[in-house]
Amino acid sequence: MTAPSKPGPQTLPRQSATFDRHTIAEINRAAATGIYDIRGGGAKRKLPHFDDLLFLGASISRYPLEGYRERCDTKVTLGGRLAKKPIELKIPVTIAGMSFGALSGQAKEALGRGATLAGTSTTTGDGGMTEEERGHSATLIYQYLPSRYGMNPNDLRRADAIEIVIGQGAKPGGGGMLLGQKISERVAKMRDLPEGIDQRSACRHPDWTGPDDLEIKIEELREITGWQKPIFVKVGASRPYYDIALAVKAGADVVVLDGMQGGTAATQDVFIENVGLPILAAIRPAVQALQDLGMHRKVQLIVSGGIRSGADMAKALAMGADAVAIGTAALIALGDNNPAWEEEYQKLGTTSGAYDDWHEGRDPAGITTQDPALAARLDPIVGGRRLANFLSVMTLEAQAIARACGKSHLHNLEPEDLVALTMEAAAMARIPLAGTDWYPGKAGF
């Protein structure tokens, strides 16, 4: 900018697109502290997403179903491949794994209450199984993680399914760090660690190293649980075709695919924003792997990472998923980032909608904390009701779309019901660009 030395037109101050205000602030922060930024949540950058897809409602060539009158079923069965007791969910949306430790006991209870009211499942997390969650979740999936915090065979047996976590979308290939301020006496005891220290969650499982070992690990877990429980395998989206194929080959009943918009309790911002795939780009390769193995619909695919609505759910199902999972959206339903706490967010140097320092344990909404006074702000009954309402709305929204597409079950949605608004989305989702029958990579352009 040139200083206004004489009257006349002046050059306006211009912010750099490359060195924008956020980038400059980050460089300044890094220069002052010498450490990268750690935060919770998933990728915040703009990514190709379900918003870039639209449904083609029925018209003359397709026949719609009557809203409020004709059935559009939503049930899903998970784990029928090899487990004696597959789980049945009334709706194809589940609650993703979130740990006690990252979340308060009340928040875990609220998730259990809400999911149970809605007829679906919750998932434990990297801290073991709490009584709050087991007691209030009619269907509970027990995560088997690299850290093995709190892992024990009794909880394995009282779970309804077991989810072996290889990775998560926010940080495929990365472990975790729960900072000491959240390691309360109870959290420490559950994890066999001293109170108040920073605790690391490993990025690799301690007793196996590759897909052949995973097959043996699955066999061990099945033998311990009498081949009763469905075995899920969860991966962060990075090489979905191969990872899903290997998980199926290793014997998974269900595969869970988490995109980079999926949240974490705490990881480096640079990791969250720069590693992994948006979920939109990961679904079709995963479905392709299942189809190539003859396992589509036999091994169920659950996708997660940025699912916010019934429309997102319907689009994921249309692309071939059997169910979706929500994490961040569920926390928001409980009250996370609610504008009602704006004054307190301001005191923390942030604002509602942007609060992501979940690792610091000072959550005004009382969800991502172990502080008893803050945690007490969340009434698990009220929170559970709110979550159940949200799940109900998601389901109603997806049904409304599915009926408009002429589908009597959400699983009857198909790629042919979708078009893409952008070239990027068309390429990633392998869905034709709107107004054409072509997507990048398909011959005939």
Binding site: P153, M177, D192, I216
Partner: protein
């Protein structure tokens, strides 16, 4: 000596073996079992939860006696990776050698290896006691949280890397210590703990005065930029 019940894995499926063992009540009188022809099978005698004695007559593959509770399992041979992984209580004795990750994430009980143990013995241990008559491989007790690892032979590279509160007793040479692991002074209580473990492991021929104790320097307990070269 009670009558020993026999399951021959040459003819009985593994699933059937576990159905029998998992179905035993806590006060069972069927307390003595032997398993024939394991032939390197994986996941043999896993998830036991009764006060029984099981002798496995041969070599086993991965995860033998995994997640054991209450039972005393003796493996008359070598064990593959992850023997007694995540053990909660009871005892597992390997009369031969054990592969990598022996006793991984164990939360209780006693694992005895009469031969050597491979890499990452006691990785992420959470309360288990492990006694190895021979030597252990590299990265043993990596991220060990609680419990005791006793090595009557030598320890490989990076012993006790990123250690929490697990205690490591080594009689022989330590090739190198991992990040945040340091030698500690042994006091009377430590010597008593070690002596008791050697006694339980039936290795009282070793003199506690010949062992050195290693533990966490606790300098990495709180993430700090000054320690970044250690991470």
């Amino acid at each position: 000596m009670p009558h020993s019940e026999t399951v021959d894995l040459a003819s009985v499926p593994l699933r059937e073996l576990h159905e029998q063992l998992h179905g035993l009540p806590a006060d069972t009188h069927r307390t003595s079992w032997q398993i024939l022809n394991p032939r390197g099978r994986h996941a043999v005698a896993v998830g036991l939860d009764a006060p029984i004695r099981v002798r496995v007559r041969g070599h086993v593959g991965y995860y033998a006696a995994g997640m054991n509770q209450k039972a005393i399992v003796t493996i008359e041979g070598n064990a593959g990776p992850g023997v007694a992984e995540n053990m909660m209580s009871g005892e597992v004795r390997v009369l031969g050698n054990a592969s990598m990750a022996a006793g991984a994430t164990g939360r209780g009980g006693l694992l005895v290896v009469r031969g050597d143990a491979g890499a990452r013995c006691g990785i992420s241990m959470k309360g288990i006691d492990i006694v190895v008559r021979g030597s252990v491989g590299h990265m043993s007790a990596f991220m060990g949280q609680t419990g005791n690892l006793v090595v009557c032979g030598d320890a490989g590279e990076a012993l006790g890397d990123s250690l929490y509160e697990a205690r490591l007793f080594v009689r022989g040479a330590v090739k190198s210590l991992g990040a945040d692991c340091e030698r500690k002074e042994m006091n009377e209580a430590d010597r008593a703990t070690l002596a008791a473990l050697l006694l339980r492991a039936e290795l009282s021929e070793f003199d506690v005065r010949d062992f050195a104790l290693y533990g966490s320097a606790r300098s990495l307990y709180h993430f700090h930029v000054d320690n970044v070269s250690s991470y």
